[in-house]
Point group: C2
């Protein structure tokens, strides 16, 4: 059985109920908004975040109506943040499809992102559970804060891993952590278990982002981003930061500064990418990712050996094994 079938097998019915709810949340009386929403729904992929909410709920209890609403809320918040990120990054594509700002314009993208955000809030209100409202709102703050931190960091010539982890915690890991935490909470888990669930999600999110950052060193049409896209935006990620710390090369330090300033040529960037690969940057990032994977597995090992635990294990493996 492939990863995705194994992951989804214990939550097939719940996922159907989720899909029905999710589509119903987005019906509006505004034709322009409907166009934008239809466009966003088209690119809906594997629903990895709602799947994580549902799995966490089943791991710590049972899927409730609140689980479905908070899963919808988190998926809406994630989509809102993607729509706005594409405006911020001036991206014209996302996963091979035109971005909302490219297809319509920045105005429509900003406003429909706001609509998705407000709808996310509305859905979490439907859970009738104030702790869930707090999780979603704190997540919304963190995601915006994380992106702002990343913007400010482009001008920061400090190549420390500490700042890198602060950024990826806020812009990615918090979302996965909110999924597992909200799933467990919606299933009525105790405070200890909810905290364990949050930590599990955080480890998954860190794996997810490090894997994404490794992808940036290779060509992939499926991701719809060219190699070195992060560097084009002035971002240096874990593989590069490791090499800058360990390889004593004045050339690399100088190019790194130019990359951050946006002054590096295409040629310099591609040489720098090769240099990072040669000096073991990818292996290092992969090791760090496996360490978080190991910690996540350790948390799961205390749970009884059920189909749900196996599905969650498959989820963990999928995050680090996926090819796009």
């Amino acid at each position: 059985m492939d990863y995705l079938s194994k992951i989804k097998s214990p939550i097939v019915l719940e996922l159907e109920a989720f899909n029905r709810l999710f589509e119903s949340t987005l019906s509006s009386s505004n034709p322009l908004l409907d166009c934008v929403v239809a466009h966003i729904l088209q690119r809906q992929g594997k629903m990895m975040r709602p799947v994580l909410v549902l799995l966490a709920a089943k791991l710590y209890g049972e899927v409730s109506a609140a689980t479905l609403h908070v899963a919808a809320s988190l998926e809406l918040l994630h989509n809102a943040s993607l729509v706005h990120d594409d405006v911020v990054d001036e991206s014209s594509e996302r996963r091979g499809q035109a971005s909302v700002n490219a297809l319509f314009n920045n105005k429509v993208a900003v406003l429909s992102g706001d609509y998705l955000l407000a709808t996310s809030l509305f859905q979490v209100g439907m859970t009738q559970h104030l702790s869930l409202v707090q999780i979603v709102s704190a997540l919304g703050q963190d995601l915006a804060d994380g992106e702002l931190l990343q913007l400010a960091n482009v001008n920061n010539m400090d190549f420390s891993e500490e700042v890198y982890f602060e950024v990826i915690r806020k812009k990615t890991a918090v979302l996965f952590a909110a999924c597992t935490q909200a799933g467990a909470l919606s299933a009525g888990a105790s405070a200890d278990r909810v905290e364990e669930a949050r930590l599990l999600g955080e480890y998954i999110g860190l794996c997810f982002q490090i894997k994404d950052d490794i992808f940036d060193y290779y060509d992939s049409k499926q991701i719809g981003k060219p190699t070195g896209n992060d560097m084009m935006e002035g971002k240096l990620t874990l593989p590069a930061l490791y090499v800058l710390r360990t390889a004593s090369s004045d050339w690399a330090q100088e190019v790194a500064v130019r990359i951050k300033k946006g002054d590096a040529s295409a040629d310099e960037r591609s040489h720098f990418i090769e240099f990072v690969k040669q000096k073991g940057g990818i292996e290092y990032a992969t090791r760090v990712m496996h360490e978080y994977h190991r910690r996540a597995c350790e948390l799961l090992s205390s749970h009884p050996d059920t189909e749900v635990r196996a599905a969650m294990m498959a989820y963990l493996d999928y995050v680090i094994e996926r090819t796009y």
Copy 2:
């Protein structure tokens, strides 16, 4: 006593408590975000929306901790929507001060608007009152929907007042309606009274927007917008719609179409403004505004004659009498 003193006199202490809370909601650990927030706080004006929440709470009961939190939530949502509107409208100024997008850039404006939105949600969660969460989230949807409707409407060559009222209901009146509704609800008013409060706010909001639209026909440095700014953005408001309906002038119809398409010259726009004034457009809009003012007063007349009712009456008068 001037309007503002009369409006604020029954809620002096509550307003101080609100201000303390509001400033504390916006402290973050992110230096860039702190800069943006400091800039937004600088332009905080008369706090007309929080004042309305507090007055409504006192009119229907007493100001509670939930009243203060929901007032902060609504003021944050309003500010988020202003920051994003300035991006959408490409405005470089707001009330004589540089907009966030102009001072920083669009990226920072989009993300800090998102942060304010999420903080708004967090604050309404603090009320521990799910009906308040629903009011704020539905308001967030309506505000985005209203702006999108207005964008779509620029290409709509229908000059009906119906569409105008649909837009101003969604982009302005809902905010004032949410203020009074949330105020009453937070004070423990019954469902009937909460609905009355909502209607009161809606009338106030309609007056507020019609007054703003009338301002657009006159010069005012205090508003920080030139005469005919709406028309420059392809918007025709109540005074013009009335004249287009009642004066049979082919010239006016043609210029109106060019204004909506953004093809009218500055000269044509200023002639059109004079034509609208001559044909009684301003008087008509003023009459409509007074009709909503009358309905609002009627709702208030059923309340006992207290200092709070007098303050709310002063609020109503202020909205239609203000000179900027």
